[in-house]
């Protein structure tokens, strides 16, 4: 299961609401202890998807390299990626699945009419054909 601490959670919600009606994206750093993941740092990253970003996001690999280096420098683990779904539920879409990486947790945040509504965490498989829902908690959940 994954728990997101108050500080990074606020940052993620603020990010998702600030870029609405576009999608936001970023990295989550923290600690992994067996199956328990605790996010203590959220890194806001650029959405570099070409064209409309209302229903698309793309991360620069260079930014993910920076996030990994930041995690190492802080003695933390890179746990996953977050992004928002404006005016959609927090499902793991076919687009999410086909462009995913099985190594990380993917938190999807639903933003309805500009306000955070709900979130889910997903674990895609290596073949990019299926994603399992992962238990997710945050301070107000």
């Amino acid at each position: 299961m994954m728990h997101i601490e108050r500080g990074p959670w606020r940052e993620m919600v603020n990010h998702a609401q600030a870029v609405y009606p576009n999608e936001c994206c970023g990295a989550m750093l923290g600690r992994i202890d067996g199956d328990n993941k605790t996010v203590s740092v959220a890194m806001v990253l650029d959405n570099v998807s070409q064209g409309s970003q209302a229903a698309r996001y793309e991360l620069r690999p260079e930014d993910l390299l920076k996030a990994d280096r930041e995690a190492r420098a802080r003695g933390l683990d890179m746990i996953g990626i977050y992004h928002s779904h404006p005016d959609c539920d927090a499902y793991f879409s076919e687009t999410d699945l086909k462009n995913s990486c099985p190594w990380y947790s993917f938190v999807v945040m639903s933003v309805q009419k500009g306000t955070f509504n709900h979130a889910n965490s997903w674990l895609p498989n290596a073949e990019q054909t299926h994603a399992e829902k992962e238990e997710l908690t945050w301070p107000e959940s």
Partner: protein, 94 residues
């Protein structure tokens, strides 16, 4: 020997190392040496056709090897390789 940084989720397949040093004159040789030493890493990095999975990028220091000669890119003992995913998505279907 070149150093390879192992992403957190893959360390379980590399005896929990966050980095390892392996020999090789090219990126391809280094990756082969890595997956020979840690066979469970292979299925995470390569598909059934023996090609790097579509979401796997390899950086030699700060350079994406796609622009430096891919797996034939020369490696020295001073180099560090990073395994970096490609990630995108969105609510849009199709």
């Amino acid at each position: 020997m070149a150093r390879i940084l192992i992403p957190t989720p893959l360390r379980q397949f590399a005896e929990k190392n966050d980095n390892v040093e392996v020999a090789g004159a090219t990126v391809g040789e280094v990756l082969t040496a890595l997956t020979t030493r840690f066979p469970d890493l292979k299925k995470n990095l390569y598909n059934d056709e023996g090609k790097l999975r579509s979401f796997v990028n390899v950086y030699l220091n700060d350079e994406d090897i796609r622009y430096t000669g891919k797996e034939a890119t020369a490696v020295t003992d001073a180099d560090t390789l990073s395994i970096v995913p490609s990630i995108a998505g969105g609510a849009h279907v199709g």
